[in-house]
Symmetry: C3
Subunit: 144 residues, 3 copies
Amino acid sequence: MEAAQILYDTVEVSLAVGPDIQDITAKLTRLVGQSQIENGVLSANTVGSTGSLTTIEFEPGVVADLTAAVDRWAPPGISYAHELAWHDGNGHSHVQAALMGPSISIAIRNCHLRLGTWQQVVVINHDNRARKRPIAVTIVGAVE
Amino acid sequence: MEAAQILYDTVEVSLAVGPDIQDITAKLTRLVGQSQIENGVLSANTVGSTGSLTTIEFEPGVVADLTAAVDRWAPPGISYAHELAWHDGNGHSHVQAALMGPSISIAIRNCHLRLGTWQQVVVINHDNRARKRPIAVTIVGAVE
Amino acid sequence: MEAAQILYDTVEVSLAVGPDIQDITAKLTRLVGQSQIENGVLSANTVGSTGSLTTIEFEPGVVADLTAAVDRWAPPGISYAHELAWHDGNGHSHVQAALMGPSISIAIRNCHLRLGTWQQVVVINHDNRARKRPIAVTIVGAVE
């Protein structure tokens, strides 16, 4: 048992019209290095209700498959009550993001994110326009 | 780097027959204020296997769209093995809640939840009866 | 307010060809006991991009229903770009795992996970072969 320390920061990512999926593992790894935390946990959440976070094997095939799947789960082409009221064309974006979820928690071990070799943290922009998305990152753990 | 402090509490929310979606941001914000934590992270989980947590823009359109979507992803009207065994009519509730997930983590910055302007934390009751749902909340961070 | 302490460990689970769902609550409860943390939060994530974590009522009916549902949300039988490139037959596994999400956070209260009576933490293997999956667990809280 060790006393916990905390470090926090914000990562900003430019994303294209949704669904756009970008790998943020390198950005998070940099924060983990800065934190000097050896063992602990990194929590992150998208700021904004049409973004989400998850992990995937970040290669073009999975990116294409997940892009197609989120549009299948909440298709852009059907009628949404949000659009009837607000006319901003992104009813599906809100439903997709709520489904995927805004946050993740990934362990830190020996100063690295404890992910699989073919597992990356990704942010998804579900909105119907390009967005610069802030992601709030909090690292709690024991310093080496 | 600062030493981390911890505060925990439980929020209770009365929910109608599912899918019912309620905004709990004000309740969580009150706990953040009580904690005196300036920067850190709030983790929350629903207690009970037919509830879930996510974030949405809490306005009637998105609420209606997400309500319709969860019933599309796991429709009440199809056959569920859970119902064949237990006859409580909520097979779909269990599948919906597992899909959406029981927990979220949201950053705290300058004594406030780091959410978008149009982003609220919501609890969803997926059960086929009204439920009073406890939500366990843990705040870890550095005191101002 | 109390000073936060931290404990971390890894749980390993043997899983059959996916979707295979296993209850890990007893393993997590053992770690909570070892941590001597009375109140706080347990964060866990699957290591590997074809696994996921959620909570369910772990009984054969819900297990069968959720198994069927994840295969409905991302069916094994349709075409995936990942498979066209890698020919490993698990395109659906990647999409299913990204949908369900790699991580959860569950509160600890009075030295126990704050779950419902019929709510268990489960790991899901979505891969098309049996896998031994590591789950990284981090416990942050105040010692009794």
